[in-house]
Symmetry: C2
Subunit: 408 residues, 2 copies
Amino acid sequence: MTLEDILAFDAADPLRDKRDLFNIPEGVIYLDGNSLGVLPKATPDAMNDMLRRQWGQDLIRSWNSNDWINAPRRIGDKIGRLIGAAEGQVIAADSTSINVFKALSAASQLNSGRLVLLSETGNFPTDPYMMEGWATATGNRMIAELVEPSRILDRLAPDVAVLLLTQIHYKSGEVWDMNEITRHAHEAGALVIWDLSHSAGAIPVELDKCRVDFAVGCGYKFLNGGPGAPAYIYVAERHQSKVMPVLPGWMGHASPFAFEDSYTPGQGIKRFLCGTPGILGMCALEIGVDIFQSVDMGVLRTKSRQLGDLFIALVEENRMGFELASPREADMRGSQVSIRHPGGYAIMQALIERGVIGDFRAPDILRFGFTPLYTRYVDVWQAVSTLADIMNSNDWCDEKYAVQAEVT
Amino acid sequence: MTLEDILAFDAADPLRDKRDLFNIPEGVIYLDGNSLGVLPKATPDAMNDMLRRQWGQDLIRSWNSNDWINAPRRIGDKIGRLIGAAEGQVIAADSTSINVFKALSAASQLNSGRLVLLSETGNFPTDPYMMEGWATATGNRMIAELVEPSRILDRLAPDVAVLLLTQIHYKSGEVWDMNEITRHAHEAGALVIWDLSHSAGAIPVELDKCRVDFAVGCGYKFLNGGPGAPAYIYVAERHQSKVMPVLPGWMGHASPFAFEDSYTPGQGIKRFLCGTPGILGMCALEIGVDIFQSVDMGVLRTKSRQLGDLFIALVEENRMGFELASPREADMRGSQVSIRHPGGYAIMQALIERGVIGDFRAPDILRFGFTPLYTRYVDVWQAVSTLADIMNSNDWCDEKYAVQAEVT
């Protein structure tokens, strides 16, 4: 493959105009949009309007006049369109962790009598942590259990109330077959919660078609909603009215402004709201989500596959001593590729210093996220070329890259 | 009292320069800062830097380079200084409702064996709703109970695990004696949670001195952190290490970036973090909180009392048929005054149309918040003068004010 071939891919890319909607820093090849998406160019102006006009001038009246009150449902429905959810089933609110807790507690109510909360070892840890939390909340009546991914299907015994899985693994990028796993879980009498943090905005998702029960996800990765953006929760319409929320904040009440002493859950998805929504975060999230409203997720997925395939081909062509830590088969892989190397930490530091930003996950994983709306084929080419320079010159062995900084 | 007297008050006001730090819309007298505080002038520039430089340019590196990772603890400590909490006991996170849930569940662990969660009827409803939620979570082992405010002390029997009260009532502005109630609760073996949503930034609070166990509060009222700003939780140092959080999100883990399968709580207040914090909301909240760092809360409280006294005196002097719904005694009253009138809704609409913004709480309460950092004595004078015009002319009886809009 030559650089001309690569440039031809970019020229023929049906998504090529989308890149111009984002702020990409000069001299940076950003392959970490699976951790924190980039800034949409429209966000600063929207936030400025939010601050100066909506908050600054209209003040408290904005809850009505600028429709703050409906932001969680409005944005939820827009996210729903990306994940195959009909209207009224998704609401933007709180953090992913809190929404996992809502889903676990709701699933436990719906499937009472069954006591096991099941997930896989190596899942993104806030999912199993919240399982532990919900088990603790129930006085350890419920039991949090993790098994190896390969044992999940076998473990679907009649004691399992709910199966919680992240559709695309944060470290390897491996994709669970949502339709198949959901079907198996239902056959075994379990409900499912899918964590879509690495799926929404990255691959087509069909929650309704797969008869999923609950889903959650974050707004700051592929959705480009900004650091710590509000998260979202999907609750299938058939379940909504049967759940009495254990996080029954006033904004989920049937009539929040009646200020009643006791809780009456709101209709539908509204009861999965809790406290007052963070409106500044909602503002930025909506800009990110709006960009996807005109994107064909099938077209996006095709490019995502090709970016990953290209990265793998170029890395292997250069024989740099990396081991592939993601599925080789594009359909089995989300919008990222991970590779292993014992010097992974130092190599990533050397890459970042040269403007190629991915991230490192202990002990030896280098992660590269491919965000089809703003990653070009030529970015992949240049990233691998920079990586090859670092490896061939042994620059990564410089001791300045060796000390692992404590992130917290 | 003459207008000259009033203007002399403003000229002698030691806080008079603070008003210039805020954006007050032209032609508006804003007496609703107890619901949503106004925009600090510094916020748009800070947010612009947050968006364009920290997120837009520095991207994922900002968690370290711009210290996003420590924002919850840093801002928590700054709020701590306003509420009498030594460092390491307050963290900014989530919503008030979620923080109430954390505090209720923690208090139940610390006081195990006791089963009653106690609060008062008429409390701001998210507090009792979260009590119901926590009771539901425990399989109704814990019991949520509300009694009339006058019966709270009598109800402190040996079955009460925790007493949850809002220090300043959202509707009447009445103040509970934090020291006295906390002492009574402790003597009865109960723990206390104080909701400071209407206290922080409004009156001096002494959590440590009063030996309070837990406190929560919101960032968008007197703290001017913006709509739906992050909330905060205080956990007394003596309790922190004894609590196993039931909302154990990954950001509260001892080593979040070790991505371990099981939860090990972080040291100290950190374990009361849950998911990824909303950094845009934190940015605006910090600006609001920073303004208070150079304010003497005693000086602020003196002005707050005087603004309320002046409002009451002027309203009563004008004999407009209102009944006082707040304590007449300034020490018993937070930084607001509420008055009753059967036509309250229409009167408030007429006021708002004339640029005097307070709010209405069913069935008959008009609320006026006095935020000493930006409310002048002359604002109170003009607000009452506008109110008198509306009442004397019967303008409020115009049918355009009669239809009560549905807020949600």
